[in-house]
């Protein structure tokens, strides 16, 4: 049980090519780390990478946000980020987690959405917007997937099997045209 702080936070600067800042390099490295559960996406694609900065006193601070509260991937993200940055020559690497504002699937990048679809996972639609007042109750299946295309055959004739899937962020769907099941990234 230790925090991500290192005892001596001396900024090690990798030999960056001229014209490239250490912050820019660190951002590039952090952005390219793959999500542990959706390895086709980088952390930047997933929208969980909130900030990368070089501290004035030395060291690099990376800020991430979890997708779901109980998502065990956060621990792995933290470790992967630190390991990659250390390996690329940075020192004093600290990974912070912020909960607010909460992550939304709207932060998945356009390239992230393309990569999901190419990997057979239907990308999320726009996150639901809430009117003031109590969270509305949805009885029966969630509003049919208008615009949810089967990532295998492209048909729009799809239906939700279960709102919960192999990871916290995905639901199980099936295509009624090609009869194949597929995963869909939930919009939250």
């Amino acid at each position: 049980m230790v925090t991500g702080r290192r005892s001596s936070g001396q900024a090690g600067r990798p030999a960056a090519p001229a014209g490239e800042t250490a912050t820019g390099r660190a951002r590039e490295v952090a952005a390219s780390v793959a999500d542990p559960e959706l390895p086709m996406l980088t952390l930047a694609d997933l929208g969980v990478l909130r900030d990368v900065r070089e501290e004035p006193g030395g060291g690099v601070t990376v800020t991430i946000t979890p997708t779901y509260t109980g998502c065990p991937a956060v621990e792995a993200m933290r470790d992967d980020l630190r390991a990659r940055l250390l390996r690329e020559g940075f020192t004093g690497v600290e990974v912070r987690v912020v909960l607010d504002p909460p992550w939304t699937s709207d932060w998945i990048s356009a390239s992230g959405r393309r990569k999901l679809e190419a990997a057979g996972v239907a990308p999320p639609g726009p996150a639901p917007r809430r009117a003031p007042g109590p969270v509305p109750l949805t009885l029966g299946p969630r509003p049919p997937g208008r615009g949810v295309r089967c990532p295998r055959c492209g048909s729009g004739d799809t239906a939700e099997l279960s709102p919960f899937g192999a990871t916290a962020c995905k639901a199980l769907w099936r295509c009624r045209a090609c009869a194949e099941p597929f995963e869909r990234f939930k919009e939250i």
């Binding site: 925090t3 509260t69 009885l139 279960s162 939930k186």
Partner: protein, 303 residues
């Protein structure tokens, strides 16, 4: 990538000195709101954290026993969401109890001084120290019972978390804002099953009605206001459970109607003597015996 030998494990151990679970609040702003007694805030975080931990464990008990594979996955997901909420809330309770700052964390001196952390709270407290509502600890007689209990629990928790997302405690507000999105899915999932079972076959209707009749009277406990909740609600930090009654009753009445179940709204809240005061049913002892067995058998183990 310029490196071919991918020795991430080595780098992690070198950088952190260990491998595995960290404080889930590491790096989260830990300031306390003004106008709230720290002891109250710690007690409140325990209440909400214990609700989530105990309900999560009951749902985990469905693993390998759910009626279909998809449902097993669903219940495991819901349990995982609640476990994540419990980790943050118990860590927040520990953080407040230990005083702001991280001094002494993970050191022998800290352990000797009786510092709390999420593991100590989850694994080394006896039932009388738990502050969850009794509603969360009851065993699930059958699948219909599990769905009705999850429906009531989620509808109530969703109403509380929604109010808490504007709490003056920044950690509670952030945990709640995330939790609202998760628990909305839980509630709708349980509502969907309650309708399928209630408005299903003769047998499924019978069992859904039996579950409804058994679970609903217990819901009164959820609307009881403990003194700590009352004080913190007045300070703009906690959600007053009694204000959730209208929303809870509305959701339950609508689900009952769609499920063709005879509805009875939750009765009057009991005066004291609830789980919030550490008064529990024997079922919590057996639940904790299972939950805590490994940690207590190997108190020095780390993970």
């Amino acid at each position: 990538m310029s490196h071919t030998s991918d020795n991430a494990l080595h780098a992690i151990i070198e950088a952190t000195g260990d491998l595995g679970f960290r404080d889930p609040l590491a790096g989260v702003d830990s300031r306390l709101p003004e106008g709230a007694a720290p002891a109250d805030l710690a007690a409140y975080c325990l209440m909400l954290g214990d609700d989530a931990l105990v309900m999560s464990h009951r749902l985990q008990q469905w693993c390998t026993r759910a009626p279909e594979l998809e449902e097993e996955v669903a219940l495991a997901n819901i349990a995982l969401d609640l476990l994540g909420q419990a980790r943050l809330l118990l860590s927040r309770a520990a953080q407040i109890r230990n005083g702001a700052g991280d001094a002494g964390r993970g050191t022998a001196e800290g352990a000797a001084a009786g510092r709390w952390d999420e593991d100590r709270l989850a694994f080394f407290r006896d039932a009388a120290g738990f502050r969850n509502v009794r509603f969360a600890e009851a065993p699930h007689d059958d699948f219909a019972h599990a769905m009705v209990r999850l429906l009531v629990f989620s509808a109530w928790r969703l109403a509380l978390l929604d109010r808490l997302s504007s709490s003056r405690d920044p950690v509670l507000a952030a945990v709640a804002a995330k939790g609202v999105k998760e628990v909305a899915y839980h509630r709708d999932h349980a509502a969907g099953w309650t309708v399928r079972l209630g408005d299903g076959t003769e047998l499924s209707h019978l069992r859904a009605q039996r579950a409804w009749d058994a679970v609903l009277p217990e819901a009164a406990e959820l609307l009881h206001v403990h003194e700590v909740e009352g004080r913190l609600a007045a300070a703009g930090v906690a959600a007053d459970p009694s204000t959730a009654r209208g929303e809870l009753e509305d959701v339950l009445a609508r689900v009952a109607e769609a499920a063709t179940l005879r509805h009875r709204p939750p009765g009057r809240a009991p005066d004291g003597g609830t789980g919030r005061y550490g008064v529990h049913t024997p079922e919590l002892d057996s639940l904790l015996a299972e939950l805590q067995e490994v940690a207590r058998a190997h108190p020095e183990a780390t993970w």
